[in-house]
Symmetry: C2
Subunit: 361 residues, 2 copies
C-alpha cells in the first residue's frame, strides 16, 4: 500500500473477474484503487492478490467502476452519484452486458454506460488479469444527457487500459450484442446439453467431440449466474435473434432433407468467406481519417454527432473531446474509415459546424 | 527418395490436408509413402513438401489410405482392392466423415472404414502437419465381415501416428458425429451468416464480436466443399439432430420470452457443468480394465464383441487381436472402463468364451 497522494483515485464496486481485472489494470497504470464487494471475502481476496490498494467505500475516488452483477448496477451507480460525501465531479461507469435498462435507470450526466467485450471461462477474482482488456473492444454508450467531460474521462481511462473504445447508443449496443454474444452463448449451452444428454445414452459420444465442438461450446463453461439478468434485460433482442436463428435453421434443415447440395454449398461458402474475413483484433478499416470539429462544450454534443454518424451508417472508431482553456468550448475528434470521412464532413458542415479532415496513414 | 527396401510401403490417394498429413506422419515413422491425386499439381506439391517419397500408383503398397473427397472414397477403395496387380493381402482404409455409405459400398473384408477426428481451418497440402493426429480420436468401423488381421493392421498403424483408436459400428459413428460435429458445424455457419448480414446493415456489429463469437464460428471457416457429400450421406442423422436443436431452441425462446429465470439458469448451469467436465483430450474413464479373450481367428469375431459391448452400453477404448503362431486362433484384448469390466466379462463367458480381466492402474 505504498501510494503517493498525487495518484488518481478509483473505486471498484464488485471484485469478481472484471472488477478484479480492472483493479489490477488500473494499479499497473499508477492509480490508487479502493474496492468493495457484497461478499467481503471476495474484496479481501482482491486485496491479497494485489487488485486493490484498500478495501472500503473509496469516498475520495474521482472515477467509480460498477462491476456488480448487472441487476444491481443501476442502483449502485445512482447511490454513488447521489452520495453528498463524494466529490461533485465524480464520474461513474459500469460494465454490465445490457446497456439500455441501466443507462435509462441511472439517467445521470456523469454516468457513462460501458461494456468491455472481454471475458473468459474464468470467473471470480482468482481469474483477474490486468491484461484482460488489451485489444478488446470496450463499448461506451453516451446519450444526449451525457456530460462530454465525463465521457472523455471514461474513454481516456478505458483506452489507457489497452481497450479499443466504441461509442454506440445503448439500444444499438443491446441489439448488436444479442446477435454476436447472447444468442451464440445460448446456442452453445443448448448444443452442450444435447451432447451431454446423448453421452448419457451413448458413452462413446464425447470421445468424438473434437476441436470444433470444443471451440463451439467453450463459452458455455462461463458463469451461468450472469445470464438470468442478461436474458431478462435484453429479452426482446434475444427473442428476435432466436427467431431469426430458428428461421435460418429451418431453412437449412429443408436444404439437408431436400438434398439441395447447391444451396448448402452456397450457404457454407458464404459463411467460410465471412469467417475468414473476420479480423483477429477489433475490426477497423485499413485507412482511417480524423475529423476535428470545434464544438460548444455542453451536454448533448456527443449524442448529436454519434447519432448523425449512425444515421449515415458510418462507424465511429474513436471519439474524444478536448476542452479549451479559454471558455466553454472544446474540439471534438472523430475517427472514421477514410472512405466515409468526406460524407460525414459534409453532413457536419451542413449542420453549421466547421470541420477539418486528416487522413491517417 | 533415399529409402531402404525393408521399409513398409503405404499408398495415399488424395494429397490434401489429411492425405498430406498422413504422408508426413507415416514417413516420420519410417514408412515409404507413394501418393497420387486427381489434381497432379497437388501430388507434385506433396512430394516437394516431403509428404511423399514418390508420386505414382504405389502398386507394391501393403496399406492404402483413401483420402479423396468422400464422394469418391468407395469407388477408389473398391478399385484398389480389385486390382489384380496389387498384393492379395492389401489392406485399405479411408478417412471420410460419414461411414455407413462407404463401408456398405465397399463391403470387403480387407477394407476398414476410418475417420480421424482431426482437422483444422486449414485445407490443402500446404496445411499438412505430421502431428495432426497426435491425441486425436480415430474411429475405425469394423463390421461382421471385417478380417481381424486387416483391422489389427489399420489400428496398429493409426495408433503409431499418435491417435487414440475407437471402434464403433458405421451406423453409430454416423449418428454420433451428427451430434458433435455436423450439426454444430452447420450452426456455426448459420450464426456467421446472420452476423455477416447484420454487419452489412450495421458496420459496428463485427467490432463487438469478441472471443466467444470467434470461437463459435471458427469451424465455419473450414473447407465448404466437403459438406455437400457429408450432408448428402448423413442426411438422416443431421436432420434428426437439427430437429432436436430446433425443439430445444424453441423451448429456450419460450423461457426467454416468458422471463423464466429459474428455467434458464438450470439450462445454463447444466451446460456449464457439462462443458467443464469435457476433458481436454480423448474422453476415457480414470481407471481402465483389460479383458483378454482367446478367440477363433475368423471373420465376424470383431463385430461379435463390439456389438456385444454396444448392447450392454459399454464403451470399448481399444481393441486389438494378437494372432497365435500355432493355428487359426488369436487373443482379443478389449480395453473398457473398470466399472464395466465385470459386466462385460460375464456376458462374454455366457457366450462360451473364457475371459480374464486385469485392472490397469
Amino acid at each position: 500500500m505504498t501510494t503517493t497522494t498525487s495518484a488518481r483515485r478509483a473505486l471498484v464496486v464488485g471484485t469478481g473477474l472484471i472488477g478484479g481485472s480492472l483493479g489490477r489494470a488500473l494499479r499497473a497504470r499508477g492509480w490508487h484503487v479502493t474496492g468493495h464487494d457484497a461478499e467481503p471475502t471476495s474484496a479481501r481476496r482482491a486485496l491479497e492478490l494485489g487488485a486493490l490498494d484498500a478495501v472500503g467505500p473509496g469516498v475520495d475516488a474521482e472515477l467509480a467502476f460498477v462491476a456488480t452483477p448487472a441487476g444491481h448496477a443501476a442502483a449502485v451507480a445512482r447511490r454513488l452519484l447521489e452520495d453528498p460525501t463524494r466529490p461533485p465531479e465524480l464520474v461513474v461507469t459500469d460494465v454490465s452486458g445490457v446497456k439500455a435498462p441501466v443507462v435509462g435507470a441511472v439517467a445521470h450526466p456523469r454516468f457513462v454506460g460501458g461494456h468491455p467485450m472481454a471475458g473468459s471461462e474464468q470467473s471470480g477474482i482468482e481469474g483477474a488479469d490486468p491484461e484482460l482488456f488489451v485489444g478488446a473492444t470496450w463499448v461506451l454508450t453516451p446519450t444526449a444527457d451525457t456530460d462530454p467531460a465525463a465521457y472523455a474521462t471514461v474513454a481516456g481511462v478505458v483506452a489507457s487500459l489497452g481497450a479499443d473504445v466504441a461509442a454506440l447508443s445503448p439500444e444499438d449496443h443491446d441489439r448488436l450484442v444479442a446477435v454476436v454474444s447472447h444468442v451464440p452463448h445460448l446456442v452453445a449451452a443448448t448444443l452442450m446439453n444435447a451432447a451431454a444428454d446423448g453421452a448419457r445414452a451413448d458413452g462413446a459420444l464425447l470421445r468424438l467431440a473434437a476441436g470444433g465442438f470444443r471451440d463451439m461450446t467453450r463459452v458455455a463453461a462461463g458463469q451461468p449466474d450472469i445470464w438470468g439478468d442478461i436474458c431478462a434485460e435484453n429479452a426482446q433482442a434475444i427473442v428476435a435473434g432466436l427467431d431469426r436463428l430458428l428461421a435460418d435453421l429451418a431453412e437449412l434443415r429443408a436444404k439437408v432433407a431436400g438434398a439441395d447440395r447447391a444451396g448448402l454449398l452456397e450457404l457454407l461458402r458464404r459463411a467460410s468467406a465471412a469467417r475468414r474475413a473476420l479480423p483477429a483484433g477489433a475490426t477497423r478499416p485499413d485507412r482511417l481519417a480524423e475529423l476535428r470539429v470545434p464544438v460548444p462544450d455542453r451536454q448533448g454534443v456527443l449524442a448529436e454527432f454519434t447519432s448523425l454518424a449512425r444515421d449515415l451508417d458510418i462507424n465511429i472508431y474513436d471519439l474524444t473531446i478536448a476542452h479549451s482553456a479559454e471558455g466553454p468550448r472544446g474540439v471534438l475528434t472523430l475517427l472514421v474509415g477514410e472512405d466515409h470521412a468526406d460524407r460525414l464532413r459534409t453532413a457536419i458542415e451542413d449542420r453549421g459546424h466547421p470541420c477539418t479532415v486528416t487522413t491517417l496513414t
